[in-house]
Amino acid sequence: MAQDSASRILTTAVFATGALFAVGFLLPNWMLFTATKAVGYGLVALGIVVLMRSGLVSFGQGLVYCIGAYTSGLVASRAGITDVFVLLIIGGAASTLVGLVVAPLIARYRSIFFAMLTLALSMVLYGVLVKQNWIGGSDGFNVPSPTFLGWAPELWAADMALYGVAVLVAAIAATLCRFYFQSMPGLVAQAVRENELRVEYLGTSVFRITVRNFVIAAGLGGIGGTLNGLTLGHVDPLFSFWTTSGEFVFISILAGHVSVVAVFFASFALELVRSFSNRYFPDTWQFMLGAFLLAVILFLPNGLGSLWDEIRKRFGRDTKAKPGSTAPVSDAPGKLAERKEPAE
């Protein structure tokens, strides 16, 4: 049973990666760029989803996003190491380290206090970076094009290669998060959102769970930042600005915390809405985004990730609870269908 579940997840991940990579050959250049950037954003938002499942929202993921982008960007531009895989590891590791330092300081705070602390830290980094003229100050600096295990493609091939790496990284991150979410530690982390007091009185440290989730989110943020630094070919302090962090929260809310795949769909949807709105409604595109988010909140309060459950419910397909399912009942309407009423 457990092996079935694991192999199903892995098979889905492999097929989805292959399919998305193949789709890349059909996409126009601008959309390759948009999709790669969306994956970068999606990775950071996936980190927020990890936090959201235990009841916390970070308004300052720009901090780790920026750390990842700057560290890998500096390594690429100053040390000349341009291999995409090495840079992703370096960016992810740098942000993970920052997460390890920051997490114990903020893990005791909750709700708006946690959110504002993370926001404050990201803005501190922004304030520091704009003063650092040796790395471009407020203008930032350019990041050289990445190489791929020694291969240095150009033009379309470079975009396609980076898109392929983004798809691969997204698949790995989503798969690992999926495993985590449906594991026992993942369920206990979810219980923190429901009732911290109970979790403590069951003998588990809520503090430790929060630190763990923040560090995971930091690592994902760093990888996302590295990917987008390489995609854009430029990093600047705006990576750490509050509006950037706000976009990550936007994506997370849009996606909800039910599905790991939905995060990337939400990110891609945001990029598309932004691109088209920017072009056709240049003065009101934020309004369009707001309306889009409102529609999702009204009709899919658990985010795009709950769409599948909603469709099944609407068309009468039972989404009956499986023993040990990690989806909270509140997230899976229709679970009670066909259930035998207990004897009173």
């Binding site: 449906q182 026992m184 530690p185 369920l187 007091l197 009185y201 023993p323 679970k335 009670l336």
Partner: protein, 250 residues
């Protein structure tokens, strides 16, 4: 079998400003005993439970679990050492089902669970099913907790506390909020569920019929002090208990 009581309170004092919630509390609780804590509201019963479980720290005095001090430890550490509790208002994960709640309890009790194996693996599913059966709540296993009757919520809360196979189980008013017809059934279920465990049970209770039927011994509290500590018949016939606790003094 050791002669050391599983739980000992030594000179416990706790005050909240001018209000004395615990005044020189000294108690020895032998292994396996069913001990009931009685007293009017504000007498110090829940304070005693909160001191034992680490929610409150005593001003002075000590609490020993099998001879080891637990008075300065936090609730999580005390739980890990083997003192678990249920609550007057059941502390459940409302957005989950009873099965998921118990899986959470199992997951929290074993830090060795893999991140790469699904919920219910490594024997957790079987353990949960056994607990659901033992507490007679299997029929409710996959219903939302928010829809459960009060008695089932109480049983689930207690079942979660029992997952760790604690040495001491503290039940804070296990029958409060439960209809009078259901109270004895609930207590029968709880006592049957713990009968095969080497657990000492302390329960706070206001219903003297429940106390008489299920307790081996009673501690009667008044104004933070223990005014009687004996077998049920002895305690309930004590004049001070009748005056300050049961209100049956002539």
């Amino acid at each position: 079998m050791t002669d050391t009581p599983v739980l000992q309170a030594r000179g416990l004092n706790k005050s909240f400003g001018a209000v004395v919630a615990a005044a020189d509390i000294n108690v020895d609780v032998p292994t396996g005993e069913r001990l009931s804590l009685i007293g009017a509201n504000g007498a110090g019963k829940t304070t005693f439970v909160n001191l034992v479980t680490g929610y409150l720290k005593p001003d002075t005095g000590d609490i020993l679990l099998e001879g080891r001090s637990i008075a300065r430890r936090n609730p999580r550490q005390i739980t890990q050492m083997g003192v678990c509790r249920s609550f007057q208002i059941p502390q459940l994960c409302e957005g989950m089902t009873p099965r998921q709640n118990l899986l959470v309890a199992v997951g929290a009790s074993r830090p060795t669970f893999s991140f790469f194996r699904p919920v219910g693996a490594e024997g957790a599913g079987e353990q949960v099913t056994e607990l659901l059966d033992r507490f007679g709540i299997a029929a409710y296993a996959d219903r939302p907790v928010s829809e459960l009757p009060g008695g089932v919520r109480k049983l689930l809360d207690i079942a979660m506390a029992l997952v760790r196979h604690p040495k001491v189980l503290l039940l804070d008013e296990p029958t409060s909020g439960v209809s009078s017809e259901e109270k004895f059934g609930l207590m029968d279920t709880v006592m049957a569920a713990v009968s095969n465990e080497p657990v000492t049970v302390l329960f706070v209770e206001h219903d003297m019929d429940i106390v008489t039927r299920y307790a081996d011994r009673i501690l009667a509290f008044y104004a933070g002090e223990i005014i009687a500590d004996d077998k049920p018949d002895e305690v309930l016939s004590d004049v001070r208990v009748q005056r300050y606790v049961t209100g049956t003094a002539k």
